[in-house]
């Protein structure tokens, strides 16, 4: 499993994808941060956080699009699937690789917060909560992206498909408020990836939300494995 992980992380930085992802994310993050806090002379990071969610919706599909689509196109998946490793560990290794790159990108973006400490006295808990929330939402996005990448051999289709699904999740969150029927609301709410992070961003550690995001990752990684299992029989 470690072999697959290592190769994936490496391949991000052998090709341009990793650098482009980092550059674009850092640039946008810095720009958004400057506009929403420094220029406004405010240490309220709610707007920064919300805009960053949208940035991740666009940026993370770029990171996940190649994970399976490329292997399928190059036929290298034949090497992985005939190697003595399970499909589960292959999928998990790829997830961890994309997550690692995203995690460090997120960490680098978080350096912006230091400027707030220079000019004001922000609450450390709130900032840490925001970092954790972005990390969790990002992990969930990555798992969705992996699932879509496993469905196609066209990387562009994988990226656009992932973006569309993430957008649909977002729309579900908005739609929810208009549904009078509670059970439907309850179910839809489960799919709304963007409804759980509020406690984190307020500086509270929300254990339920943590479990929620981990289970979303688990569910999507699981169905990704199922896609592979199914393909063997088709």
């Amino acid at each position: 499993m470690f072999a697959v992980y290592k190769r994936e992380v490496r391949s991000y930085f052998v090709s341009a994808v990793g650098y482009v992802f980092l550059a674009v994310l850092l640039l946008l993050s810095a720009a958004v941060f400057s506009v929403t806090t420094l220029l406004r002379q405010s240490c309220d990071i709610t707007d920064y956080f919300t805009i960053m969610l949208f940035v991740l919706m666009v940026a993370l599909p770029v990171l996940t699009m190649k994970l399976f689509a490329e292997e399928r196109k190059l036929k290298t998946e034949q090497l992985l699937l005939t190697a003595p490793i399970s499909i589960g560990s292959m999928v998990f290794a790829k997830f961890l690789a994309a997550f690692t790159v995203f995690f460090f990108a997120n960490l680098l973006c978080s350096l912006s917060y230091i400027t707030l400490f220079v000019y004001a006295k922000p609450q450390f808990g709130v900032i840490l909560g925001n970092i954790i929330a972005l990390t969790l939402v990002g992990a969930a996005f990555i798992s969705v992206g992996m699932f879509v990448s496993a469905l196609t051999e066209n990387q562009l289709a994988a990226a656009i498909g992932t973006f569309a699904i993430l957008l649909a999740f977002l729309a579900l969150g908005f739609l929810n408020a208009f549904i009078p029927f509670y059970p439907a609301r309850f179910v839809l709410n489960w799919f709304s990836l963007l409804s759980r992070y509020t406690n984190f961003t307020n500086g509270f550690f929300d254990f339920a939300a943590l479990i929620y995001y981990i289970s979303v990752c688990f569910v999507f990684l699981f169905i990704t494995c199922r896609v592979y299992e199914r393909r063997r029989y088709s």
Partner: protein, 313 residues
């Protein structure tokens, strides 16, 4: 070593394999021979666990692949039809990746050096796979299949797209591998299987058409002799003469011409050496022979014969 029982695989309505069973013994080099679309790659993919069959079982050293996939996959080194290479890696990085992927426990450097020497890629180890020629890529693919020293090596069409020199190199390599490993080699080229394999399994339309030692199959294939003969002289004169010669069962003009000479395809009756009689008969009539060459049977001819033989039984 390998036992395959009644493999059936369908894609929608199309049947790729319709009940294939065979056994491969330790140390054999077996040619899996069939025209394109016969089901060779499907069978290889099932044996290596890449895809699943609808029904049937695959045992490697007595272990069933679906029951114990990890252990069985460890025993198989596989080179698919298109070598699964990552273009952005160097040969060394790729081989190290496969070494780790297969959780190999042999001493790393010594093992990889040995393989690289065997497949003759030592001088390109630091090069990017993307920049390699087709022949080198194929050899890197074979090297990857050898990592971990698996007892069973499966090579799917390993010489397709290679130049003649590379083909000879790969064939020699396969013969060398056969000394230490059990090798299954799939190919659609009859002469390749004849040159390399101890035994041939001939598959056609998802079914096994013949299974036997290479010598036996050669004998069977050879007992009808066909020649292409180029004769100077008028066709009206030559054709009746050829047809009238005892021992020739069929003679036809191919339509190829070389000056005043024309090419003919003749088929001698089984077990008859026709060349001497042909020479004297033509010399007597003052018709010079410009060329005479035996025509190998195409795989399609072999299938026709084999399936004909089976139906006749």
């Amino acid at each position: 070593m390998l036992k395959v029982e009644n493999l059936v695989k369908t894609y929608g309505r199309a049947t790729a394999l319709g009940g294939v069973s065979f056994t491969v013994n330790d140390g054999e080099i077996v040619g899996f021979l069939g025209p394109n679309g016969a089901g060779k790659s499907t069978a290889m993919n099932i044996i290596t666990g890449y895809i699943s069959s609808n029904t049937g079982k695959v045992f490697v050293d007595g272990e069933e692949i679906l029951e114990n996939p990890t252990a069985v996959k460890k025993k198989i080194g596989y080179l698919p039809e298109q070598p699964p290479l990552y273009p952005e890696l160097t040969v060394d990085e790729y081989l190290n990746f496969v070494y780790e992927l297969r959780a190999c426990t042999l001493p790393r450097q010594a093992h990889l050096n040995e393989i690289c020497t065997a497949v003759r890629i030592t001088d390109i180890r630091t090069r990017l796979i993307r920049n390699l020629s087709k022949g080198y890529k194929q050899r890197v693919g074979i090297a990857a299949a050898l990592i971990g020293d698996p007892p069973l090596i499966i090579l799917d069409e390993p010489t397709v797209g290679l130049d003649p020199k590379e083909i000879i190199g790969v064939r020699n390599l396969i013969r060398a591998l056969g000394k230490k490993h059990t090798v299954i080699l799939s190919t659609h080229i009859l002469s390749e299987a004849q040159a390399v394999c101890d035994r041939m399994i001939i598959i056609n339309r998802g079914k096994i058409a013949a299974d036997g030692k290479t010598d036996e199959i050669n004998r069977f294939i050879k007992d009808n002799r066909r020649y292409k003969v180029t004769i100077s002289g008028s066709q009206n004169e030559v054709l009746p003469l050829l047809r009238g010669l005892s021992g020739i069962v069929r003679a036809e003009a191919t339509g190829e011409r070389d000056g005043d000479a024309a090419a003919y395809m003749i088929e001698a009756a089984s077990g008859i050496e026709i060349r001497k009689a042909l020479f004297y008969a033509l010399a007597e009539q003052n018709l010079p022979i410009f060329g005479l060459e035996p025509v190998g049977q195409s795989l399609e001819d072999v299938f026709l014969k084999l399936t004909g033989r089976q139906e006749g039984r």
